[in-house]
C-alpha cells in the first residue's frame, strides 16, 4: 500500500443533476500518485460526471473531495488544482475553441502566466511530441476527428499536468490513430484515469480497472476475469483463472 495520501480522494460523494435522479451515490474513490486506472461502465452511468466533479466543474450535493492532500470546495481551491490535473473532454469540439492550433495549445500555458514566447515554445514542443509538427497554423475546425483528438491532447499536455483524466480518448478513431494514441498514453510518465468502453485498450494502458454501479465505484472481479480473457486474443479457448 502507498503511505502517501491519495492525490484524488472522494469521500461519500452524492450527485444528481437538477431535476434528475441520483447519478453518483455514496461514492468513495482513492487515486494515488503513479496509479494508472481504467474506468469502464455503461453509457449514462456517470463517468463523465465523475471527472467533472474532480475538476470542480459540477458541485457534489454532499460529500468531500480532497485533491493532493487538501480539501477542495471553493472555486478558488479548484483553480489551483486544475493546473495540476488535465482533463481531456469526451468531445474534442468542446475543447478546441481557438481558430488555430497554435493559439489553442498556447491558451493554457498563457493562462498559467507564461510569456508569449515561452507559451509558443511549449506549444511547439508538445505538438512535436505528439507528431503534430507543422500543425501550428492549421484551422482547428477543419481538422479531422483524429487530428482534433490529438490536438486536444496537446492542449492538455501543454499545461504540464501531474494527473490526466481521459474521457473516452479512442472514441470514433480509426485503427491507426487508436494505436498512436494508445502508444502515446502508454509512454506518458504521468498518473492517469482513462474512461473507455474498450477493455483491451484499458488492459494494455492501465493497472487496475474499475466500474460504476448504482452510482458507486467498484473494483469488479468479474470484470477482471472478463478482461483476462480478452488479454489473450489469440488463445484458442477463453479461460477463467482461479
Amino acid at each position: 500500500m502507498n503511505s502517501a495520501p491519495p492525490i484524488i480522494h472522494l469521500k461519500d460523494i452524492h450527485f444528481s443533476y437538477p431535476g434528475g435522479k441520483a447519478v453518483l451515490n455514496h461514492l468513495d474513490f482513492k487515486f494515488y500518485r503513479g496509479d494508472r486506472t481504467g474506468l469502464i461502465a455503461p453509457n449514462g452511468s456517470g463517468k463523465t460526471t465523475l471527472f467533472h466533479l474532480i475538476m470542480g466543474l459540477v458541485k457534489p450535493s454532499s460529500g468531500k473531495i480532497e485533491l493532493f492532500g487538501k480539501p477542495v470546495s471553493t472555486a478558488r481551491d479548484f483553480e489551483d488544482v486544475r493546473r495540476r490535473i488535465g482533463l481531456l473532454f469526451q468531445d474534442p469540439d468542446d475543447q478546441l475553441f481557438s481558430p488555430t492550433v497554435m493559439e489553442d495549445v498556447a491558451f493554457g500555458p498563457l493562462n498559467l502566466g507564461k510569456s508569449k514566447s515561452e507559451a509558443q515554445t511549449i506549444a511547439h514542443r508538445t505538438l512535436a511530441y505528439l507528431g503534430l509538427e507543422g500543425f501550428e497554423d492549421r484551422i482547428t475546425y477543419k481538422l479531422s476527428g483524429g487530428e482534433k483528438r490529438l490536438v486536444s491532447l496537446a492542449t492538455v499536455l501543454a499545461m504540464e499536468p501531474e494527473v490526466l483524466l481521459l474521457d473516452e480518448p479512442l472514441n470514433g478513431l480509426d485503427v491507426d490513430t487508436r494505436a498512436k494514441i494508445e502508444e502515446i498514453i502508454f509512454n506518458l510518465d504521468l498518473s492517469y484515469i482513462i474512461i473507455s468502453h474498450d477493455i483491451d485498450f484499458l488492459l494494455s494502458t492501465t493497472a487496475q480497472i474499475y466500474t460504476i454501479k448504482n452510482g458507486k465505484i467498484l473494483f469488479d472481479d468479474k470484470l477482471q476475469i472478463h478482461a483476462h480473457r480478452h488479454a489473450h486474443p489469440h488463445g484458442q479457448y477463453p479461460h477463467e483463472h482461479e
Binding site: H52, M55, L57, E79, R82, R83, G86, L87, F89, D91, D93, D94, Q95, L96, F97, S98, P99, T100, M102, E103, A106, F107, G108, L110, N111, L112, K116, A119, Q120, D137, I139, T140, Y141, T155, V156, M159
Partner: protein, 253 residues
Amino acid sequence: MLQEPFAVGNSILHRIDPRMRIAAATVYSVIVALSRHFPTLATAVGASLALIMLAKLRPRDVVIRLIIVNSFTLLLWLVLPLTFQGSVAISIGPLSVYHSGLIMSAQITLKSNAILMALMALIATMTLSTLGSALNRLHLPDKIVHLLLMTYRYIFVIEQEFQRLMRAAQIRGFRPGTNLHTYKTYAYIVGMLFVRSALRADRVYKAMLCRGFKRKFYCLHQFRTGKEEWLFGTAMGVAVMVLIYLEWLKAGV
C-alpha cells in the same frame, strides 16, 4: 468549434494593428449609421467594397453573409413602404406605397450593407482572442469584452447547431410548407437550438476553466503601431472626412 473564415489571411488589412482597425471601424460605422443622404451612403458602400477587396476576402463568403443580412432588409422593404404615411409613390389597387417608406428602406439597406462589409473587412479579419485583447488594450472593461466575445462565439455555435438540426430534419424528408406540421417542426428546431447552444456553451466554458481561464484573453498577436498603421489610419480618416463633408457640409442640412 468556431468558424472564423475571414480571420485567416495575409492581406494588408490582416496585418494592421487590431486596435487601429477597431478604432477605424467604430468611427466609420457611427458616421455611416448617422448619415442619411444618398451620395454619402453610396460613397460609403463604395468605400466598404474597397475595404473588402483590400482584405482579399473570398467573394463567396462575403456574398453569403450579405444575403443573410439582406433577407432582413427585404422584410423592411415589404413593411415600411406600406406603413409609413406621407406622399404616395404608387398605388396598387387598395395598397398605397409611400414615398418616405421607400426612402427609409433604401437608407437602411445601404447603411447596413456598408457597415457590415466594413466590419467584415476590419473586424472579422482578426481572431476572437485578438479582438478580445485588442479591446482590452483599448481600455474597455473586462466584463464588456467578455460579453462581446461570448456573444460573438455563440453566434457561430448556434449557426452550426441550427444547420445540424435542419439536416437532421431534411434527411428524414422534411419539406417546409404552410401547415401545422412545418410550424411545429420549426418550433422544435428553434427550441432544441436554444437548449443545445446553452449546453455547448456550458461545456466550452468548462473546458476553458480546465485550462486555467481567468476571464482574461491573451493573444499571440504582437501589437505594434508602425508606418502601415499610420497610413491606414490616415486613409480611413480621409474616408470619414469625405463622408462627413458629403453628409453635413455639402448637403448643408
